[in-house]
Symmetry: C2
Subunit: 321 residues, 2 copies
Amino acid sequence: MTRVVVLAGGYGGAKLSHGLTLLAEAPGSDLELSVIVNTGDDLELHGLLVCPDLDTVMYTLAGLANEATGWGVRDETWSAREMLERYGQETWFGLGDRDIATHLVRSKLMRGGARLTEVEAELTSALGVGAHLLPMTDDIVRTHLRTDEGWLPFQDYFVRRHHADDVHEVHIHGIEHAEVTHEALHAIAAADRILIAPSNPFVSVGPILSVPGMLDALLVAPAPIVAVSPIIGGTAVRGPADRMFVTLGGESSALGVACHYVERYPGLLDGIVIDEVDADKADAIASLGLAVRTAQTLMQSDDDRRELASTTLSFAQALSG
Amino acid sequence: MTRVVVLAGGYGGAKLSHGLTLLAEAPGSDLELSVIVNTGDDLELHGLLVCPDLDTVMYTLAGLANEATGWGVRDETWSAREMLERYGQETWFGLGDRDIATHLVRSKLMRGGARLTEVEAELTSALGVGAHLLPMTDDIVRTHLRTDEGWLPFQDYFVRRHHADDVHEVHIHGIEHAEVTHEALHAIAAADRILIAPSNPFVSVGPILSVPGMLDALLVAPAPIVAVSPIIGGTAVRGPADRMFVTLGGESSALGVACHYVERYPGLLDGIVIDEVDADKADAIASLGLAVRTAQTLMQSDDDRRELASTTLSFAQALSG
């Protein structure tokens, strides 16, 4: 059994996790995958608990993701949204009809007293997802961003305002009282390899690492920890990570990603996978004390995902022991 | 201003109420309509409060009703239901995607502390419904039916088991602690005419009349009270009212309807509208002390609805003062 843990946000986290499940599904594979997912982006809409990152990972691993949009369910319909508009409800965060079913089941289970971790286990099991989806915490935490417009809840910034604002500060409401789950702690302690997905370091991976107990667990974990850079050739594949490097300090480059992790979380990373186009940064990154592997990191096809997952895993394996 | 109050269940209540709103919308009309609606059929599904009778009346008055099914919203989609099935949820009570939006808004408002009456005012206003939709109570009451299979919640009997069971007894859980709303009391006291829709006397009108305070308010109301028979030629237009007359005592006929109201609620009715095909019952009904009007009571077209509403109103007017 090779136990792999991935720390993941939504988009990049879902793709790398999908590559890993493709490996896990190969004949003879002994790979067991746990994905620890950011919940700082979660929100309440129409009385329902919506967990965008968890859902993006789940739908992707279940083969239900809408590849065109990068979020939501494929073959989606929007009837409820139309009707919600008639009722004068805010619909800037688009809940598709199939997606709503997920939030209905989740919200009902949680009102019944289930922990989010238990809920996700039930949802993913029903959709035939083999990987363990582990919320970073069962407690309610919410990422807020300070912009020129003041503090904004994450989805207000990201969806309603199309992440157009400069971000000057990140605060995760409730994080000081949050606890890492025993499922996440167990997965980290038992892991043979730990990967940090090419997710936004500030608002996807950052919240995960800020859950009290999470970083300590990672620092003492026996497994090597390898990150995949979400910045390719200076820009983010998707989302505002590149602009955040500018406004939050640092450099929007593979080197900037490496510096960010090394400076903020000393001793966390053993290595980093950067894109081939960033090969010129390898020496500078190595001088930070990190092992470096270059690879084709843009995950467009299933083959891309599988290939990057395989490369990252073997890189981590080479760093273990 | 002619203030009309209708006591209504879902199907027949919606159609007669629709006929009345068609009259109200006519140029020069001074008709103001309040519909007091049965809530004994309400249920919780997927954590949402669903009010089938209120919704059928609302969708019908808003011009959104699915005329083919007699319930739900037209141009409906069923994506959430498909997904709920994937999650292993019970889906025997079909919630369409547009319909779910209604329940989401209602449930959110109620969790925020709104009374059901306030919620319905907001929903109907958003959909441009001019009539006042008044739940018979803001308290939670639930109709249960004793069958050969034991006691069944109403929708289990009606939808899940297709109202195939014989009904031996009706009990409305919570009714002893329920209160009639001040909005319903006010509408009744101020009414110029009060109509009882051609709804099931046992499980639609019965629950309304059993809310503590409702019957007393009706008995002292100055307005004439006229019922429309839901039984035409011995059978119910829709649903199990005819079979209930057999198993709960009485006769499935226009005369049976009149007897039911006269015996159970002495002094309530001033008159009854029966179908032309039941004209042979008129004398027997008159001997019970009720005024009788025959009319074409099957409401297939909008014209049918308007015509029956008009006939019933003028019949009531003739009985007033």
